[in-house]
């Protein structure tokens, strides 16, 4: 079993290394290699050592929210995650990075994205708050 595993690991590393030769083979790419490696490692470290601790810490704060008859926690968690996810995925447009290329490619500037994202966040937060109010009201009607 360990033998088989070793073969698998070796095959995997060989394939990974031969993939790396694609950038090694093209001399014009050589100056970029350190940057590619930095982005590769950066993506990993940023996720594990920044993004994860950050959202875990925020979540720790959220679970301390008042529980009451209808706990608030998921009504904050869900829109917050929606906001974070859309921010993460659409960051370039929202913070207006890459404007000249965007303009050259589409003929449009990046102005609308930030406001659109804020409206989207507002809509998600509003819907979640409304749902919470409805649940609280229902419960007090049922209970009272």
């Amino acid at each position: 079993m360990t033998g088989l595993r070793a073969v698998g690991v070796l095959a995997c590393l060989t394939l990974g290394a031969s993939a790396a030769t694609i950038v090694v083979r093209d001399p014009t790419l050589h100056p970029s290699i350190p940057w590619m490696l930095a982005w590769f490692a950066g993506a990993l470290l940023l996720h594990d050592l920044v993004l994860f601790p950050l959202y875990a810490a925020v979540d720790r704060a959220l679970v301390r929210l008042p529980t009451g008859p209808v706990p608030l926690v998921n009504h904050v968690r869900v829109p917050l995650l929606g906001a974070g996810l859309t921010l993460l995925v659409h960051l370039p447009g929202i913070i207006r990075q890459g404007g000249p290329v965007h303009l050259g490619a589409t003929g449009l500037d990046q102005t609308p994205y930030l406001a659109r994202w804020l409206w989207l966040v507002l809509a998600m937060a509003g819907a979640s708050a409304l749902l919470w109010v409805v649940r609280v009201t229902r419960r007090s009607v049922a209970g009272g």
Binding site: C12, D26, L85, V101
Partner: protein
């Protein structure tokens, strides 16, 4: 340092469900990405020299005409939609990343391959997302990096699946999926002690079905914000946060404006002629040739697409005029200069009855942004090769 993991729902079952979703969907993303490389056509893909690391080569077909619209739309669309699933999967296994490296060298090497897997997918997602939003902060060649990253990731993924498949099956069998869908928060208990299961968990604040709904909801949200870039009509605007949800009023998207092409307007003015080698044609002469209409998609390598009605001269008619009625290939050159200013078409792409040198679109002459005086449109051809502002076509026997 000892971290107290708190989640009461983290455990093999949840990880296995997320793993299964990725196992079914990631191969589609990998395959459609590798197909994109093939679709560029012989000798034209970037990176050019990939050794043996490519799909078996074949001539990219012209039928169905929506083929590239589908494959590349799926690649980018599914790539975006899977972001929440990938993040959730990483969350579900993150305690493992903070455990000490095993002593056993094989196990340690196995752990090291996780760098290829996790680094690879994050790298692919980050570069892909930046690319489709025209943010080139990374400063290196997107194509070379994304292609290389794809194989690095695939290497990690294949090993991971081989090694973990049995554990995934065990995890899935450990609880009833239907049962979980019927289990509300009040009845949610931690999985039995195992790897990943927190020894001293907090009180649950979310059921397992709630967590799955949350991840699925995140994917649905992104899907809803992405499909628009492949639709025409009012629904296009639903891609609220993507460049391709927007168009100039009354227009459809382009991948390069006339202004960005830096073409001297005089070069596409009244003196413009199409150079066919053995003869030159003015735009009036082209317009006097038999015209054909085709409703064809422009499908960009960046995943967006749009179907429009083009009118122009069949490429095969032009080939016959040039004295090469049965060409093996055609080299199309643009007035523009730069990396995508020339494209080679295969025999089938020239001979397809709907392959056109278009002069008009949607009932009007092409605008400068859409390639006036003339542009190529070929069924299923990646948009990047539907050359605009065509200067010359060389049909090769």
């Amino acid at each position: 340092m000892r971290i107290r993991w708190r989640s009461p729902i983290r455990g093999p079952w949840l990880t296995s469900v997320l793993g299964l979703v990725l196992l079914c969907s990631l191969p589609v993303v990998i395959l459609t990405g590798l197909l994109d490389w093939v679709a560029y056509g012989p000798g034209q893909a970037i990176p050019a020299d990939v050794g043996v690391l490519h799909l078996p080569l074949f001539d990219w077909p012209t039928r169905p005409s929506w083929l590239f619209r589908l494959t590349q739309g799926l690649h980018v669309g599914l790539g975006i939609v899977l972001v929440p699933v990938v993040l959730a999967k990483l969350w579900s296994v993150i305690p493992k990343l903070f455990t000490a490296l095993p002593r056993n060298p094989v196990k340690a090497a196995e752990r090291a391959t996780l760098v290829l897997l996790v680094g690879g997918i994050l790298f692919e997602i980050v570069t892909g997302l930046l690319n489709v939003q025209y943010d080139y902060v990374f400063g290196f060649s997107f194509y070379a990096a994304h292609y290389t990253g794809a194989w690095v990731f695939t290497a990690g993924l294949v090993l991971h699946v081989v090694l973990r498949f049995p554990a995934m099956v065990r995890g899935l069998r450990s609880r009833s999926f239907r049962g979980e869908l019927r289990t509300p928060l009040a009845q949610t208990r931690p999985e039995p002690p195992a790897d990943l299961v927190a020894p001293e968990p907090d009180r649950p604040t979310m059921s397992r079905r709630g967590a799955l709904a949350l991840v699925g909801g995140g994917s649905l949200l992104l899907a809803g914000l992405t499909v628009g870039q492949t639709l025409d009509g009012p629904l296009r605007a639903t891609a609220l946060l993507l460049p391709r949800g927007r168009t100039l009023p009354g227009d459809f998207p382009v991948n390069r404006t006339f202004a960005a092409s830096r073409i001297d307007p005089a070069a596409v003015g009244s003196g413009w002629q199409l150079d066919l080698g053995s003869l030159q044609l003015t735009r009036e002469q082209l317009a006097a040739l038999p015209q054909h209409t085709a409703a064809l998609p422009i499908a960009c390598v960046e995943g967006w697409s749009t179907r429009q009605t083009w009118v122009g001269v069949r490429l095969r008619d032009l080939a016959a005029l040039a004295g090469v009625p049965a060409p093996e290939s055609a080299l199309v050159t643009s007035v523009e200069e730069g990396p995508f200013a020339r494209a080679s078409l295969t025999r089938a792409q020239v001979l397809d009855p709907e392959a056109l040198l278009a002069l008009r679109v949607n009932g009007a002459d092409l605008t400068p942004d859409h390639g006036f005086p003339a542009r190529v449109v070929v069924p299923a051809l990646p948009g990047v090769h539907c050359t605009k502002w065509v200067r010359a076509m060389e049909f090769r026997a």
